[in-house]
């Protein structure tokens, strides 16, 4: 401080800009925002406010289905690629066949044959914590959660739509869908964006007409794009993520705020995270609440209410695309 003018502005002790405050004491910075009336987050959102998403399907020309989803500064691209998994192997005398025994009531081929393969990749430089190298533990665990939700819980794609049969109805091959999600920019809450991208990409997927050619004994695809068929998607489900911020200062200790759709800054501060996945019709498909000291029964009704409203937002957005 060289001029007296500056001293007038900051007469008492230490004074610094809001950005410095955020860097020095991120916890207090968030708390001071939330203690304002009405509570406002550093991103100028209310605690129950989600970021407005944008969604665009069919952007990738060479994928069978694709979607670009942007939620605030989190942007992901999802591409679906269909490949044929033939059940016959080899040629001539070495020819063999994988026999499939299945129970139509259970429809577990998606799991046993791994017909849906989701993966998540964090693009180079997508966030400040990005390190080049093999997929981080974070990327791997998000990919695994996507797989569990898609294959074990929501069961969006019925197995019958992936079967390729001959004229007699015998299964000759399967479509395997490789669902790759690439995150271009990461500003928190990657799961909601990635899941919405997966759902939208599957919904926009069109597969070529595949048939069994008995003379050549192999699967042939019709190149005519007019004959491509839409992938059957049984039901929709969308997720909503939350963070719980607890005041740890002496004054007003224990006060909690439930923050919808946290950004990276908020995710870094809050220990408790909640995820709710709502199905079409309002039933719940999945709940995840990490440890902490908030009672599940206390917080869940509000989370579910917000997640249902979020479902409607996503649904409307997806419907306007098709």
């Amino acid at each position: 401080m060289t001029s007296t003018h500056q001293l007038d502005i900051a007469p008492i002790g230490l004074s610094f800009s809001a950005q410095t405050f955020q860097k020095l004491a991120p916890d207090s910075y968030l708390l001071r925002h939330l203690q304002r009336d009405p509570p406002t987050r550093p991103s100028k959102r209310a605690p129950d406010e989600f970021r407005a998403p944008t969604l665009h399907t069919g952007a990738l020309a060479h994928a069978q289905g694709s979607a670009v989803v942007r939620v605030g500064d989190t942007a992901v691209v999802c591409g679906v690629r269909g490949e044929i998994h033939a059940l016959t192997l080899g040629e001539g005398r070495t020819k063999g066949k994988i026999s499939v025994t299945r129970n139509d009531a259970v429809e577990d081929e998606i799991k046993t044959h791994a017909l849906l393969v989701p993966n998540l990749e964090l693009g180079t430089g997508c966030s400040k914590d990005y390190h080049p190298g093999p997929p981080t533990d974070f990327a791997q665990s998000v990919a695994e959660r996507l797989r569990v939700l898609l294959v074990d819980t929501v069961k969006m794609v019925p197995a019958e739509t992936l079967r390729i049969t001959d004229d007699d109805g015998e299964i000759k091959a399967y479509w395997v869908l490789y669902i790759d999600v690439v995150c271009n920019s990461l500003d928190g809450n990657i799961f909601d964006a990635a899941w919405a991208a997966v759902v939208s990409a599957l919904k926009s997927t069109r597969l070529p007409q595949a048939f069994w050619d008995a003379d050549r004994e192999q699967i042939m695809c019709d190149p005519d794009r007019q004959l491509y068929r839409r992938l059957e998607v049984r039901e929709l489900a969308f997720t909503a993520s939350f963070c719980i911020y607890t005041n740890k200062e002496e004054e007003g200790e224990g006060q909690k705020w439930l923050l919808s759709d946290p950004d990276e800054f908020e995710e870094g501060i809050c220990d408790e995270k909640v995820l709710v996945c709502v199905r079409e019709g309002g039933k719940i498909a999945r709940i995840e609440k990490s440890g902490g000291d908030t009672d599940v029964l206390e917080i869940m009704p509000e989370c579910i209410r917000r997640a249902k409203a979020r479902f409607d937002t996503w649904k409307k957005m997806l419907d306007s695309q098709n």
Binding site: E144, R286, L297
Partner: protein, 211 residues
């Protein structure tokens, strides 16, 4: 379903525990507080490292996801500020399971084994976290309780809020570690009681020199 818990099966670890529930067996060991790698050092609290090893083969994304879930469950229970700039390492070895791909069934055993190993290691904790899997008509719920309150949930299926409330009630009954009159009358072995007994037994062994 038989539940059994043993503290300190591994003599050279700082803390260890074996937890069996039905066909699932898990061994957990805790090392630390010990020196932390420079890039993981936290100035005001302990760094917690979780490593999950599968029963056979090398770990895959499934184990990474299990590690992330266990870390989020266990780190609020540990009083991390007691050991700043230190590392607490938790090693989980899955021994047997009914279905190794079904991590929902394995998670409660992993949480319980870890909690017991932390107690054995003398790590400062806020309370005892006890976890169980509750199956209802439309869903499967992994619930964990601390001081009588449900603090962790992982549910999947197709259900409504009422069903979750029922599951929490049932889970709370199984996970309580407080002895009460009603419980003494029934012979049912609950996960909470198994954990209480294991800790009581260990404390008794440690205090034997006094007698």
């Amino acid at each position: 379903m038989t539940i059994s818990a043993v503290l300190a099966p591994l003599p050279r670890a700082d803390g260890s525990a074996t937890f069996k529930s039905g066909l699932t067996t898990v061994i957990a060991s805790v090392s630390g507080p010990m020196e932390v790698r420079a890039r993981e050092e936290l100035p005001d609290k302990a760094f917690i490292e979780v490593i999950v090893r599968p029963a056979c083969g090398v770990g895959s994304t499934r184990e990474r996801a299990l590690e992330a879930r266990l870390l989020s469950a266990i780190s609020p229970v540990i009083i991390r500020s007691h050991h700043p700039r230190m590392c607490i390492q938790i090693n989980i070895q899955l021994v047997e399971a009914e279905d190794h791909s079904d991590t929902t069934a394995i998670l409660p055993a992993v949480i319980n084994a870890t909690m017991l190993a932390l107690v054995d290691a003398g790590t400062p904790v806020n309370g005892i976290l006890v976890s169980t899997l509750v199956e209802t008509e439309g869903g499967r719920h992994v619930l964990a309780f601390e001081k009588g309150r449900c603090v962790l949930a992982e549910s999947q299926g197709e259900f409504e809020m009422e069903e979750l409330e029922q599951a929490v009630k049932e889970g709370g009954r199984r996970c309580t570690i407080e002895k009460d009159e009603e419980m003494m009358e029934t012979d049912e072995q609950t996960v909470g009681m198994a954990i209480r007994e294991a800790i009581e037994k260990k404390v008794k062994m440690d205090m034997r020199w006094r007698e």
